[in-house]
C-alpha cells in the first residue's frame, strides 16, 4: 500500500508539472522544420576580383562599375597609377534566387564577357554545410583589331572559364571560399602562356562592423608555363555597404577584371609595389518580385 502512495504522489507531481509547463516551450513543437538557408556569406557578388558564391535575388538587377588604376609604384608623375585607369561596366540579373546571368565590358584588352551563375547547393542550418555555385563565363577579346593582324579570327578571340565556388559561412563574421578554376583561351602567346590553365582560388571575408568587411583573395595557378612572366593573383579588399550600394576598395596585383586576365595574366609583383588600387561599386535595383 505504501508503494501505491508513492506512485500516486509521483504521478500527481508529474501531472502538475505538465499543467504548469512553460507555454513558450510548447511552441517549439509547432515550429516548421523548413531549412533556414544561410544568407550574406559575402556582401558582394565578387570577393575581390573573382566571383563569390553570391547570386542576385530573383528580379534584382545589379549594376557594377569597377576601376583598376595603374601600379602604385609607377611614380608621382602618374599620380601613383591614377592616370592609367581601366574600367569594367557590368550588369548582373537574378532570374531566380539561384540562377543569375551577367554581362560586362572591360576596357583592359577590350574584353566583353558574359556568364551564367547557378547556386546549386545552399548552406543551411539543418542541411548542407557549404554553399556551392557554378560559374560558366565566356570572354571575347576585341583588342587588337583584325586590320592589324589578319590571323585574328572571331574564334581566336574567345576564352572560357569554368568555376565551382564553394563557400562556408563559418560564423556571422567569417566566411571562406575555395574555387577550383579552369580557364581555356583559344589563342595565346604559346611562348609564355598555356591555352588551358587550372587554378585554385581561395577567398575569405571577415566582418569588422555590420557594414564593413575585410576581404582577401588568392588564385594559385597549377603548372603555369615555364617562361610565364606572370604572377598568381592576390587581392585585398574592404567592403563598405550602405543601403543599396556596396563599395569595394581593392588593392591587387591584377589589373584585369575578368577571369582570363586576372587568373592567367596578372602582371604585378605584389611584394615589389606592383599593386593596383581599384574599386568595385555596385548598385542593386529591384525590378520585379
Amino acid at each position: 500500500m505504501k508503494r501505491f502512495f508513492t506512485l500516486f504522489a509521483a504521478l500527481v507531481v508529474l501531472s502538475l508539472n505538465l499543467a504548469g509547463q512553460d507555454l513558450l516551450s510548447e511552441l517549439d513543437e509547432l515550429d516548421s522544420s523548413e531549412p533556414v538557408y544561410t544568407i550574406a556569406t559575402f556582401k558582394g557578388t565578387r570577393v575581390v576580383n573573382g566571383h563569390s558564391i553570391e547570386t542576385k535575388g530573383e528580379g534584382e538587377l545589379e549594376f557594377i562599375i569597377s576601376h583598376r588604376f595603374g601600379t602604385i609604384n609607377s611614380g608621382g608623375y602618374d599620380l601613383f597609377g591614377l592616370d592609367q585607369a581601366f574600367i569594367r561596366i557590368g550588369l548582373e540579373y537574378g532570374l531566380t534566387d539561384q540562377l543569375g546571368v551577367g554581362i560586362g565590358r572591360n576596357s583592359f584588352n577590350k574584353i566583353y564577357d558574359g556568364y551564367l551563375k547557378y547556386k546549386a547547393i545552399r548552406q543551411s542550418d539543418s542541411g548542407s554545410p557549404v554553399t556551392a555555385t557554378t560559374l560558366i563565363s565566356m570572354g571575347l577579346q576585341t583588342y587588337p583589331q583584325s586590320k592589324f593582324d589578319s590571323t585574328l579570327t572571331f574564334g581566336s578571340r574567345l576564352n572560357y572559364t569554368y568555376q565551382v565556388l564553394i563557400a562556408r559561412k563559418i560564423s556571422s563574421d567569417l566566411s571562406v571560399q575555395v574555387a577550383p578554376t579552369f580557364v581555356h583561351t583559344n589563342r595565346v602567346d604559346q611562348t609564355i602562356l598555356n591555352n588551358d590553365q587550372f587554378a585554385m582560388g581561395f577567398g575569405a571575408r571577415y566582418k569588422l562592423t555590420r557594414s564593413i568587411s575585410l576581404n582577401a583573395e588568392y588564385y594559385a595557378r597549377f603548372d603555369p608555363h615555364a617562361d610565364s612572366p606572370y604572377y598568381n593573383s592576390f587581392g585585398l579588399g574592404i567592403d563598405i555597404e550602405t543601403g543599396g550600394h556596396v563599395f569595394q576598395l581593392i588593392f591587387s596585383n591584377s589589373q584585369g577584371m575578368v577571369e582570363r586576365t586576372f587568373v592567367t595574366e596578372t602582371a604585378g609583383n605584389f611584394f615589389k609595389g606592383g599593386i593596383h588600387f581599384g574599386f568595385n561599386i555596385t548598385r542593386t535595383f529591384q525590378l520585379t518580385h
Binding site: V12, S15, L23, L27, E60, D97, S172, T242, Q286, H289
Partner: protein, 183 residues
C-alpha cells in the same frame, strides 16, 4: 484482485492528471506584418510562420516568430534586415509571453483585452502591455488580433545615419492569429 486495484488507481490518477491539463488552443493560421513609415520609403514585411498558444483557463498566451521568415519586397532589404539590424543568426526568434487581463473565456463575440508580459526582440526583453482583440469563434476556434508599436531603440536596434530617412524609429506591427483546440 490486487492487480485490478492497482490498475484502477493508476487510471484514476491519469484521469486527474489529464483534467489538470488546462484547455489550450494552438495557432493554425497566422499573419504578422510590420510597417515602417519613413520620409523616403515605406517598408512592409510579412510572415506566416509565427506560432502561438493560448491557455484559456490560466489566461496566458505565448507567441514566437522566426525572424528569417519575414518576406520583403526587396531581397537585399530582407538580407540587411537579418544581417545588420535583427542579427537573426544570433537571435533567430522573437517571442511574446503574457497574461491576459479582462479576458473571459465564456464570453461570445469580440472582447478587448490587454496582454501584459514580456516581449523579446533582438535578444532584448521588455515588459510591455499590448492591447488586442480576442474573439471566441464558437467552432472551437479563437481569433486574436492586435496592432502595436515597437520602438527600435528599446530593443537596441540602431539605424545608421545614412538610412535615417529610410527606416522609421517606431515600427507598426499587426498580428492576426487563428487558433484551434489543442489535441
Amino acid at each position: 484482485m490486487k492487480i485490478y486495484l492497482k490498475t484502477g488507481l493508476v487510471i484514476l490518477v491519469l484521469c486527474i492528471a489529464t483534467s489538470l491539463q488546462a484547455q489550450k488552443y494552438v495557432s493554425e493560421k497566422s499573419n504578422v506584418t510590420f510597417y515602417s513609415y519613413a520620409p523616403l520609403e515605406d517598408i512592409t514585411a510579412k510572415s506566416k510562420k509565427a506560432v502561438g498558444i493560448i491557455d484559456v483557463d490560466a489566461e496566458k498566451i505565448a507567441f514566437s516568430i522566426p525572424i528569417r521568415s519575414f518576406d520583403f519586397e526587396k531581397s537585399l532589404m530582407q538580407e540587411h534586415f537579418n544581417e545588420k539590424y535583427m542579427e537573426s543568426d544570433k537571435y533567430p526568434k522573437s517571442t511574446f509571453q503574457a497574461v491576459l487581463i479582462d479576458f473571459n473565456a465564456r464570453k461570445k463575440g469580440v472582447q478587448n483585452v490587454t496582454a501584459k508580459g514580456k516581449l523579446t526582440i533582438h535578444g532584448i526583453t521588455q515588459n510591455v502591455e499590448i492591447p488586442g482583440k480576442i474573439e471566441m469563434l464558437g467552432n472551437g476556434k479563437i481569433q486574436i488580433t492586435s496592432t502595436f508599436m515597437v520602438k527600435l531603440v528599446d530593443y537596441d536596434i540602431t539605424v545608421p545615419q545614412i538610412v535615417f530617412q529610410n527606416i522609421a524609429e517606431e515600427i507598426e506591427v499587426k498580428v492576426d492569429f487563428t487558433l484551434s483546440k489543442k489535441k
